[in-house]
Amino acid sequence: MWLGLDVGGTHTDAVIVNEGGVVSSVKVATDHHNLINSIKAAFTKLLEKNNHTNIARINLSTTLSTNAIVEGKTEKVGVIVSSGPGINPAFFSCGEQYHVIDGSIDHRGKEVKTLNAEELQRAVEACQKNGVKVFAAVSKFSTRNPSHEEHISDACTGADFITMGHRLSGNLGFPRRIATSYFNSAVWRLFNSFADAVEKNLADLHVKSPVHILKADGGTLPLSEARHLPVESILSGPAASVMGISALCNISADAVALDIGGTTTDISLYADGEPLVEPHGISLGALPTLVRSLATRSIGIGGDSAIRLSDGALRVGPERIGPSMAEGGSVPTLLDALNFAGNAHHGDTVMSKIGIEKLAQEAGITPQKLTSDAIALAVKKITDAVDSLLKEINDKPVYTIHEMLEGKVITPKALYVMGGPAHAFAPLMEKAFRLPVIVPEHYLVANAIGAALARTTFDLTLLADTERQKLIVPNIGINETCDRNYALEKAKKDARSYLMSHLKKMGIAIQEHDAQIVEESSFNMVGGFYTTGKNIRVRCQVKPAVEVHLHSGGGR
């Protein structure tokens, strides 16, 4: 059995699932001021009904870090970067204590200029004087050579915690590395006290199962690892739903999934049945990070989207003024329109009718026209957003002639709809997309099911430069030498075994075939007119997947 818990905007859902399906589920209101209370309530309610001795794993999807960052309730971080030539690093300033130190490393990982020790010392002192307890050490091209980050880290004496950029991801992207390191340190203390509380809470309930957190890429990370990588817990909400759909539906082809909630609709894509990963990392607000995520988009259309007239034009969303009138709100919403049109029968449909008729009168049109226009507008916003996501993915640049000519194009064959108004929207979507629409069973707790069944994911990049005889796997701290004859086949084997042994250390056993090579290249490096070595790059991952598929679903 697996336990999944998803902290949502209004509700916290928790389920226990086994191979046969959902064993038990609970729903409690989310207390934004005290998430741990909501989690505690959900655990207690769920576990008092069930024997928990054979829960294999507990996965939490929590908004804790995201909310703290979005609301600015984070800790002061001393961000110390070395940049070298290129774009002015002042552009990437974050936090109050941002310091740029002279020193540089080039794209091959060669140290061009040593770190300025004096400047570094001054920066650390300035941070300490300002009461900074957590730091972020980031240098350009640290994924090629982490020595400057290590050097900065060593200088931060007395720190409670230091994030080194290269330990977050093997991907390039200096500005992303700065932002991600900053966030990681900024939420470190908060996340750790949360983790303490979760562990204490479970101990009180005599639960001994390992605890993981859900990541934005639809995979999990052991809580003990997440303690030093708390940034990995951001924006996991949409991933929970995507993995839920994966578990509930037997998706084998290209597909689109819509999770229609109160205020937003989350869109996600599947390629040959597998959730699509965004390779560069997710953006938090306007800031791109190195946190791997699924390719999802969110638009401001949901059951509670207010229907209003502004300058004579009809508007649906993105604002939510309150719940639908059917649920006691004061402004008619999309759900009231669906009620009026007969697509839904939710709550107090009489109130929906009153609200819609009043607005129609103000607009000087029939309520039938008002509702059909409002629904059509909402449907169009959703179809436009899906089209633009598909276009973006299918137009994604490629860098080889082979991919240019043979590249995969995603052509959805089915549409999966879940969330509160799923059934009301299903026929509308079927018409708009001209695709078969499936509303899975248990769609109301699909997010918690997704969290429950998500498996651990991991991703690493191995770089070998046989001319410099250097081999590096930055995010797991491998930095060693390789010989001049080191070759791609060996690199692939090594990448797999590094990944497997790293996971093993975290207590996770995987099959060798689960360690997938997703990118591989070997470039001849030439100096003058002779080959001087090879530049080898291998990316290996455990892709997002669910423990079991619950194929009871699929009904309308």
Binding site: G84, P85, G86, R108, T400, M404, F523, V526
Partner: protein, 437 residues
């Protein structure tokens, strides 16, 4: 997050699976470190810079521009069609208003490819800028286009293609042809009888430093552009003038390239040569991208940059001043009025011997153009090479007058009747016909 001042499209296509040969400068590795640098700098996250996939040029796009002997498929591979397609994509972004500026950071290059093509010369098979410009003219009207070629090598292919076109100004700044391949591009190469002064060459002496390049830009290129008044400026952005380039002898810098691009302010830039793939390209390309997008590029400096080490001799500066004033004078003298040497209806004839260094092909050409006051004049090229028997290409130019069109069709009829030619190619831009016999 950084906001670009100008919306810019970047078409990055490094063709990581294509090389002329494993150790050739034009190999898989060429743009690897450029990609690393652009990714690490976060270029693709700058708001306003959008990365696009290249188009794939069609056979017709090539046939509109070149006489390919024996045919397009024999002288190109997919890589060339994608590279040219990258340039076309850049043009479409700008012409459709989707971006204000666009940079086709693609390979392989094209500026040594001439009107008639038998194979690869100077690492080039088809002229990607010319294919792009003729695409623009086919789809967006007959624009006045200025090409400013800042590759270290003279762009003899682009010069050949636009030699007779009065609506295209070709300016090349390059290392003096007496000291570098392809050995052409002198001050007195000024264009054919219908387009005299519309080809301007600025051959710079070896060891010219940023100071010299920027002098030539400010004192020759920009004043000539002011006089020509182009609708579109295209930069053939070769990067082999860099002080670290292994196959040339110049001393230009990444910062210099960025300043040049900033002042030139081209609508479209297309990568040409540049073979210092670690020491120059990552920084030069970064500088060009930032300059085109209007983002501060002052921090773009090579790790080993040493201003003193690349400073030019005083005599170099004096020589450049002379060259530049002569180039401006040439444009003033010739570009304003039609040729007085020949009268309408006469033919201007050139004999050419062309060597394809990469493929080892020798070609002999007889080219003639109808002198015409009303259009670019019908063009006739007889060509024979070490791999292809005698063939002929006839071009009725865009906006051809009736006389030149009729003359072109008559020449086609004669050529077909003569039985002399293995391949006969017609480019009829007026009626959009591209025929092979």
């Amino acid at each position: 997050m950084i906001q670009a001042k100008r919306k810019m499209g970047l078409i990055f296509f490094p063709a990581f699976d294509w090389a002329i040969s494993p150790t050739h400068p034009e190999r898989e590795e060429r743009l690897l470190y450029t990609q690393d640098q652009l990714l690490e700098e976060g270029i693709f996250d700058i708001a306003g810079i959008v990365e696009y996939k290249p188009d794939i040029a069609s056979e017709e796009d090539v046939k509109r521009t070149h006489f390919c002997i024996p045919d397009v498929a024999s002288v190109t591979t997919e890589s060339h069609m994608i590279s040219a397609g990258g340039a076309i994509k850049a043009a479409r972004l700008v012409m459709d208003g989707e971006a204000e500026r666009a940079f086709a950071l693609v390979r392989p290059p094209g500026h040594h490819s001439m009107k008639a093509v038998h194979g690869n010369r100077g690492f080039c098979n088809i002229n990607i800028e010319a294919v792009m410009i003729e695409y623009i003219r086919e789809h967006y009207g007959q624009k006045r286009v200025a090409i400013v070629d800042t590759d270290c090598h003279h762009g003899d292919g682009t010069q050949d293609i636009y030699w007779h076109d009065p609506n295209t100004l070709y300016i090349s700044i390059h290392q003096d042809g007496r000291t570098l391949y392809p050995g052409s591009g002198f001050l007195d190469e000024l264009g054919g009888p219908n387009a005299l002064g519309k080809t301007i060459n600025i051959p710079l002496p070896p060891m010219t430093s940023p100071e010299g390049f920027l002098y030539a830009l400010d004192n020759a290129v920009l004043p000539i552009l002011d006089m020509f008044k182009p609708d579109i400026i295209v930069n053939s952005a070769g990067q082999d003038n860099h002080y670290t380039d292994p196959i040339t002898n110049m001393n230009f810098s990444a910062q210099g390239y960025a300043i040049l691009n900033d002042r030139l302010n081209p609508h479209i830039a297309v990568l040409e040569g540049g073979y210092s793939i670690q020491g120059a390209l990552p920084y030069v390309n970064l500088g060009i991208v930032l300059a085109m997008a209007g983002v501060d590029y002052s921090g773009v400096v090579e790790p080993d940059f040493n201003e003193g080490a690349i400073r030019q001799e005083k005599s170099v500066g004096q020589y450049i001043e002379k060259i530049c004033s002569q180039a401006v004078e040439n444009y003033r003298t010739y570009a304003k009025k039609p040729s007085k040497n020949k009268s309408s209806g006469e033919r201007g004839v050139r004999q050419k011997n062309i060597y394809y260094d990469t493929d080892g092909i020798r070609e002999k050409q007889m080219e003639s153009v109808m002198v015409c006051n009303d259009c670019a004049g019908v063009l006739y090229i007889e060509t024979v090479s070490s791999i292809n028997p005698l063939s002929v290409g006839i071009e009725i130019p865009l906006g051809a007058c009736n006389r030149c069109r009729d003359e072109g069709l008559r020449m086609l009829k004669d050529a077909r009747q003569s039985g002399k030619f293995a391949h006969i190619k017609l480019i009829n831009r007026r009626d959009r016909e591209y025929l092979d016999y």
